[in-house]
């Protein structure tokens, strides 16, 4: 009798904590691990220090930007892949609706409600140059800070590519 109520109260507490964590990570901010080197050297620079090569970077993703969907050039965002809704990608916004973006093949105008994303490491990044403009509705959050490894803790700045994007 006693153990059953103890188990029940532990289960209730776990459920409550889980629900509150889920709400906070949906509405406020969450922590995400960066995989791959497509955003090198901003994330996962893979230099020779021990900590860098051991584990992936952890970043803070804020969800307040999803209220108004207002982004700026140079924001790093997390979004669902247009080809597989279960995959998430982390890239930088290079173009916003109405901008003209130049790729090696041609110049195209980013349609309403879409954005052009590119990885900082152009050589090994699958981004809008492969799958085209990304609808802003797929964005899950904006990266604001690096939380791990400790020697690179800090805020993530905006980098703009003025030479390839012409804003309206």
């Amino acid at each position: 009798m006693g153990t059953l109520s103890v188990v029940w109260s532990i289960a209730k507490n776990c459920l409550t904590v889980g629900v509150i964590t889920l709400t906070v990570s949906d509405l406020f901010a969450s922590i995400v691990a960066v995989r791959g080197a497509s955003m090198s050297p901003t994330f996962n620079p893979k230099t020779n220090t021990l900590l860098d090569s051991l584990s992936d970077d952890r970043v803070l993703v804020e969800k307040f930007c999803l209220r108004k969907y207002k982004f700026s050039h140079g924001d790093v965002i997390v979004f669902c892949s247009p080809y597989d809704h279960k995959e998430k990608h982390l890239k930088r916004i290079v173009g916003l609706p109405g901008d003209w973006v130049g790729t090696i093949y041609d110049v195209l105008k980013i349609p309403e409600g879409h954005c052009w994303v590119e990885g900082d490491n152009s050589a090994s990044s699958i981004d809008s140059r492969s799958f085209g403009p990304v609808p802003l509705g797929l964005v899950e959050g904006r990266v604001t800070h690096i939380l791990w490894p400790p020697h690179r803790i800090g805020s993530v700045g905006r980098k703009t590519a003025q030479n390839r994007v012409s804003s309206s």
Partner: protein, 165 residues
């Protein structure tokens, strides 16, 4: 001093009740089911022009169980702040043949066009082809934009019932 402590303790207790309640509300609303007011002419005759309240479930699209014939809520690819209610006509790999409404614009090419829906995308159309902006205008939309599946109409009460194929 002791009074402040007991007041503080009671305040924390009350706030934690509110926080727990709002969190449960959010999780139910986003991951289980929610009531949504849908309006507009693009889904006539299935949905009324003045608005219906429907019950939307948010489970199927997360496990990939939303398919052709389903009524879904989709975040608009043209404006992420708007949510559209449309029907999925085709999923990835299907071939779609469509023509834009001919009587409206005589200068527009109204011969039918075909394309194959790419991987990870769906083709959505409103039931009222004459008054709907959908995949015929903005192309197939990524599956990740789907927000939920509409399965029951709860208001107006005289048309309560499930919304089928």
């Amino acid at each position: 001093m002791r009074q402040w402590r007991s007041i503080a303790r009671e305040a924390v207790a009350q706030v934690s009740i509110v926080v727990k309640f709002l969190s449960f509300l959010h999780v139910t609303d986003s991951y289980l089911f929610s009531f949504t007011h849908v309006l507009g002419p693009s889904m006539l005759p299935t949905l009324n022009i003045n608005g219906d309240v429907v019950l939307v479930e948010h489970l199927s699209h997360r496990i990939g169980k939303v398919g052709a014939g389903d009524l879904v809520l989709v975040r608009s690819p043209l404006d992420p702040r708007k949510t559209l209610t449309k029907r999925i006509l085709a999923v990835e790999g299907d071939k779609v043949t469509f023509c834009l409404d001919p009587p409206r614009d005589p200068t527009r090419d109204y011969r039918s066009r075909s394309l194959v829906v790419p991987k990870g995308h769906v083709w959505i159309q409103g039931d009222n082809w004459y008054a709907s902006t959908d995949s015929r205008h903005f192309g197939p939309v990524p599956y990740g934009l789907i927000q939920g599946k509409v399965f029951l109409r709860v208001w107006p009460p005289n048309s309560f019932g499930s919304l089928g194929q």
